[in-house]
């Protein structure tokens, strides 16, 4: 048995200054046992999203090192960008990976929040870690950005879960959460009519009575109608099932799927599901994949 793995996906309020971004990410990289998976910096939003993973203790240490570096390097009072930011370390979701449950991620979110509180960050818990239903949704917490939070923080309904109950204009607040692994999967249609993508999105998503654990929106991207999906539970709805629903809904409107794309990372299981589904495989597990056997955490000594 191996220790459960977690992913942290902190969003911090700097997307332009390469030196600062580098100092902040290096603070995480310096923690033994942390594996940096990706970094996306967006200059327009003046915001970066770092993804790192590891066992509980390194991920927790990485998150705290990142928070300290954000407090040192960044100043919300002098920061601007399109994104309605509320803190230098803005959002910090924890995601359960191999061997971890959502409850484990919620516990980790609480543990991190307690330490962030000691470090002087007011913390709102959100997502599966929320202590109150009206704080479950991140947009509700963030409404109005820093100024919105400042106007609400003395309201007992919006008392921070951890840390100071007042705002420091330099560091702001941080929303710490637990959420499932998201697979972002987009389908491009053979039409430039965004309305077709919107209708397809409405039909396939859970909120429209479609597939469970599927969020979908229609956009126009590069002259093509795009159905943009977030799959939040691949056991409930794997990629092939979502895609076939899009293909079918598009066909009803006289359109078809020209190509698709996976944004960011997908777990190996998502790829195995697709291979099983379309190849008609009786069985296909990670154990059948050479690289899993060569590099995986499965103990080869037990063979």
């Amino acid at each position: 048995m191996h220790a459960p793995l977690f992913e942290a996906v902190p969003n911090f309020s700097e997307g332009k200054d390469g030196t600062k971004i580098s100092r902040i990410t290096e603070a995480v990289r310096a923690i033994p046992g942390v594996r940096i998976l990706s970094l996306h910096s967006d200059p327009d939003h003046n915001r970066s999203v770092l993804t790192f993973a590891g066992e509980e203790d390194p991920v927790l240490s990485g998150a705290l090192a990142l928070a300290k570096a954000c407090a040192t390097e960044l100043d919300l009072a002098s920061q601007s960008g399109e994104h309605p930011r509320m803190g230098v370390l803005d959002v910090l979701p924890f995601v359960p990976l191999e061997g971890a449950t959502m409850d484990d991620a919620v516990r980790l979110a609480h543990k991190a929040s307690e330490s962030l509180g000691f470090l002087g960050f007011p913390v709102y818990l959100y997502g599966s870690a929320a202590t109150n239903p009206h704080r479950r949704s991140l947009p509700d917490i963030r409404r109005g950005g820093y100024e919105g939070v400042a106007s609400r923080i003395s309201d007992p309904l919006w008392k921070p879960d951890y840390g100071p109950k007042t705002l420091d204009s330099h560091r702001g607040v941080v929303a710490v959460g637990a959420r499932p692994f998201l697979v972002a999967f987009n389908a491009y249609l053979d039409t430039d009519d965004v309305e077709v993508a919107r209708v397809v999105a409405t039909r396939v998503r859970e909120s429209g009575g479609g597939l469970p654990a599927v969020r979908a929106l229609g956009f126009g991207v590069g002259g093509k109608a795009q159905v943009s999906m977030n799959l939040t539970d691949l056991e409930q709805t794997p990629i092939p099932v979502a895609l076939e629903a899009v293909r079918s809904a598009a066909a009803d409107l006289g359109a078809s799927v020209e190509s698709t794309e996976l944004v960011g990372l997908a777990p190996l299981e998502a790829v195995l599901q697709a291979a099983r589904y379309y190849l008609g495989l009786r069985e296909l597990e990670a154990d059948h994949v050479l690289e899993s056997r060569l590099y995986g955490r499965s103990d080869p000594r037990r063979l």
Copy 2:
């Protein structure tokens, strides 16, 4: 840059005696840097197939440790089984994995053969490592088993490539080769008519003018007609292309593919190919797979 990886797939002439099989495989397992991937022992054929992998030096040491253990534990003179065996260590193919070319595997086969020769094993090189076209095919080397080899060994055409030029009745000879990674993929049809599977196999395989790098045979397995395929070069013919050819050939005969199976291991790229093909993905590389990023050999420090 990482060192190239190789796989060795030795076949040795013991498939019944668990103690002996275990002593032989433990000799390989004891080599640091060797990863045991699988062991299949067949009592009827009285034969075991061990698969292990690693960088060049550990794989070479593992192969030599295995050969010594086979010579110690096994005696061809007192061995019997359905398989036409020719040595205690019967066949030793090397397969290029990540970062390795077929030429690298051929060099490794020669290096291993030289050492096996010093250890007293007469060696025939086969496959891509063959020194002579008439020794390229393993069945040609093995024809008649030990007795066949004994009758040919003094013929200059069949002089061993390395080691003694005479046979020791206890250890016999070993065929050392280099071959591509094989993906074994079977399709089960919705008919019990083996003839349908045979006709489909003939149409899809390279030797029948079908797909390159595909070998195929038709069998009856568990009351179903089975098309059994070996794909020897997934860049030339990936699994989905082979399967669609089988589906199409079967449909021409009024049959269809009910299910499929992958026997043994497949490289991650084979699964990615299937997902790309059927999902219409613009791009899907190992880098998009979470586990590859978590456990792979790619250096996360370079991100």
